[in-house]
């Protein structure tokens, strides 16, 4: 019983975490059609910004959290201005942005080593404390992550469906030329999507660091997991990211609890390879025509 509860709790928590990371990634892919390999770096930027506020300014984490999110969004927007806008719509866009984002993530982790140091940092939990259900320790921070993740999925969904800005994003993602003919500011829309995605990554960074600790490369693994979730759910599909996050999280957690930690990652990889063979577009993949 304890094992089962542990597996389910771990799975739901992992699922929420993966979903939170994958949401930003899938949003950018769906709208701008570029794979942001700097997503993990933005995660790190947000987490370090919050850590800096907490450790150097001695402010509570509740102030550090929005600060981290804002810094991550600003960083992401700057990246858009410097590296993505210049090549928008040009041939070789995929190439350039893919390599450029790898370059950015290299620089961010190097900068993190320079400004802070390579040691592991502890970002305090927003909601400390825990309670115990049948021998399994359930942290309040974990519950907060799950709630935040679900709420953000809902928010992003509502944003895309009902607001003017959201409709602009969908229009641009479907037909860039037509959208710009309808006087939708394409570049600004892209910038907005990238900034939102950055904010989501930053939020994930601040909320998840109490679980994983913070070091200059700590964004890498969450990013890989987010990539897997995004592809499993179908690139560019928000519903897919949500479902796939929980499916993969629970799968990984069960493998981990019943077969050992060493098999968790290989198991997930086997699952994703099977998925790509059976349904190359992912769970909710919608091909090339409609996204988001």
């Amino acid at each position: 019983m304890t094992l089962l509860v542990q597996a389910i709790w771990g799975g739901v928590l992992f699922g929420a975490v993966y979903g939170l990371m994958a949401l930003g990634l899938t949003l950018v892919w769906g709208a701008v059609r570029f794979l942001n390999l700097a997503h993990g770096a933005i995660f790190t930027v947000g987490a370090y910004a919050a850590y800096w506020v907490v450790s150097s300014l001695n402010l509570p984490i509740l102030i550090a959290l929005p600060f981290g999110v804002l810094v991550a969004a600003a960083f992401s927007y700057l990246m858009h201005l410097a590296l993505i806008r210049p090549v928008l719509g040009k041939p070789g866009f995929d190439n350039s942005t893919l390599i450029a984002t790898v370059g950015i993530s290299i620089s961010v982790s190097a900068a993190a080593i320079l400004i802070f140091n390579p040691e592991y940092k502890v970002v305090p939990a927003v909601l400390p404390g825990y309670f115990v259900i049948s021998g399994v320790q359930i942290t309040n921070q974990g519950l907060l992550v799950i709630a935040t993740s679900l709420a953000l999925f809902l928010l992003v969904y509502l944003f895309l469906t009902y607001t003017r800005q959201g409709m602009a994003v969908r229009a641009v993602s479907q037909q860039m030329e037509a959208a710009s003919l309808m006087s939708i500011p394409v570049e600004r829309t892209y910038g907005m999507v990238i900034a939102i995605s950055g904010a989501l990554a930053g939020l994930a960074g601040v909320l998840l660091s109490p679980f994983f600790f913070l070091n200059p490369n700590s964004g890498f693994n969450p990013m890989i997991q987010a990539l897997i979730v995004t592809i499993f759910g179908g690139l560019g599909s928000i519903r897919g990211a949500l479902v796939a996050g929980f499916v993969l999280g629970i799968f990984e957690s069960f493998v981990e609890v019943f077969y050992g930690v060493a098999w968790a990652q290989p198991g997930v990889f086997v699952l994703i390879i099977l998925m790509l063979i059976l349904r190359p577009n992912g769970l909710f993949g919608i091909g090339e025509v409609r996204r988001l």
Partner: protein, 355 residues
């Protein structure tokens, strides 16, 4: 009964004038080879000569890996991030054969490329039918799996959490030591580099290479002309892995071990920097890039952690603002000022006489 016999499809004769190997003067190749052979004999008489020779060996190893990566990434458009993992496969193969089975390093190193090629087949079969992003993910996944396996795998293979730390190095007999041994190692690495460069050059200029470029430039057109995309990409991937594995095997016996730190990000960064700085999708680009990165490395090391910050920014900057890299620039300069006999420019139609 029709008496018309269907003629077998004939290929048009190869245009000899267009053959790329005719464009490279034999003197240049011969000069490079002779220079490469004589160079260590001269260098060894200098004070820092041995150091320079070891730098050159490092250059040979890295250039082979960078060229192989460029072959699939720059030419093939396959965003494989499994390059370092394949290098490690080669290294571990040879390392295990020597370390755990007691083989001779010279024999064991021959098996590295073969095993790496088989591993590439294993990665390629599920991966290469997919497109860009999926390939990135699955190859990164392979990288992670290989790392996990080397750290936690059976001791017989992984050698424990730090990798294979004591593998017998190449030995050329008991009386070959010191500088003499370094020179022999240099020749071995140079030989490997020469073979890899030659084969990759031929691959690029073969029908296979032309098909690859066609697929990269316009996939729809290439496929509609009857190119089997999957087969071509798989073949290219295996060729690339072959030389990557060879370099890995050599590096293991050169360094006397292979550590799990090889999977750390800096290795990928260095290789990527070589390709991007030198020239993405050009033949000489990665060689030039390897030369630049390794040549500058001793100065960059002094920068400490700023080194990676700088490399990352350079990669990002070049990728966006000069995606061609440095090689086309140098080539342009060469053709402008030094090329022996430039083809006569097409005479412009004169509309008005000036003098």
């Amino acid at each position: 009964m029709s008496s018309v016999t269907v003629a077998a499809p004939t290929r048009p004769a190869l245009d000899e004038a267009a053959a790329p190997w005719k464009r490279v003067p034999l003197y240049a190749i011969g000069g490079t080879i002779v220079g490469g052979i004589v160079l260590p004999l001269v260098l060894v008489r200098l004070d820092i000569g041995t150091y320079l020779i070891t730098l050159l060996i490092l250059f040979f190893i890295q250039a082979v890996v960078a060229q192989a990566w460029n072959l699939i990434m720059g030419y093939g458009g396959i965003y494989s991030f499994a390059q370092v993992a394949l290098f490690a496969v080669g290294g571990w193969t040879s390392g295990v054969l020597v370390h755990s089975l007691g083989w001779n390093p010279f024999v064991a190193v021959l098996f590295s490329p073969i095993v790496a090629a088989i591993a590439a087949l294993g990665i390629g079969l599920p991966t290469l039918r997919l497109r860009g992003v999926y390939v990135v993910l699955l190859t990164l996944a392979f990288h992670q799996l290989a790392r996990v396996f080397t750290v936690t795998g059976p001791r017989f293979i992984s050698g424990g959490g730090y990798g294979l730390v004591t593998v017998q190095t190449f030995s050329f007999g008991d009386n070959v030591i010191g500088d003499q041994r370094t020179i022999y190692l240099y020749y071995l690495a140079g030989f490997m580099f020469a073979i890899a460069t030659f084969v990759i050059w031929r691959v690029i200029h073969s029908p296979l290479g032309v098909a690859v470029s066609a697929l990269r430039d316009s996939e729809t057109y290439g496929v509609s002309r009857g190119i089997n995309q999957f087969r071509i990409r798989l073949l290219l991937f295996v060729i690339s892995a072959f030389f990557t594995g060879l370099a890995g095997g050599y590096a293991t016996h050169y360094n006397g071990g292979i550590s799990t730190t090889i999977f750390d990000f800096p290795r990928i960064i260095d290789l990527l920097a070589m390709i991007v700085i030198g020239g993405w999708g050009t033949f000489a680009g990665p060689i030039l890039g390897a030369g630049i990165v390794i040549g500058l490395d001793q100065y960059l090391v002094a920068l400490g952690d700023y080194r990676e910050l700088l490399l990352g920014l350079i990669i990002a900057g070049i990728a966006v603002f000069a995606p061609q890299g440095l090689w086309p620039v140098i080539r342009g300069l060469y053709e402008k000022y030094l090329a022996p006999e430039a083809p006569p420019p097409p005479a412009p139609a004169r509309s008005e006489g000036t003098s």
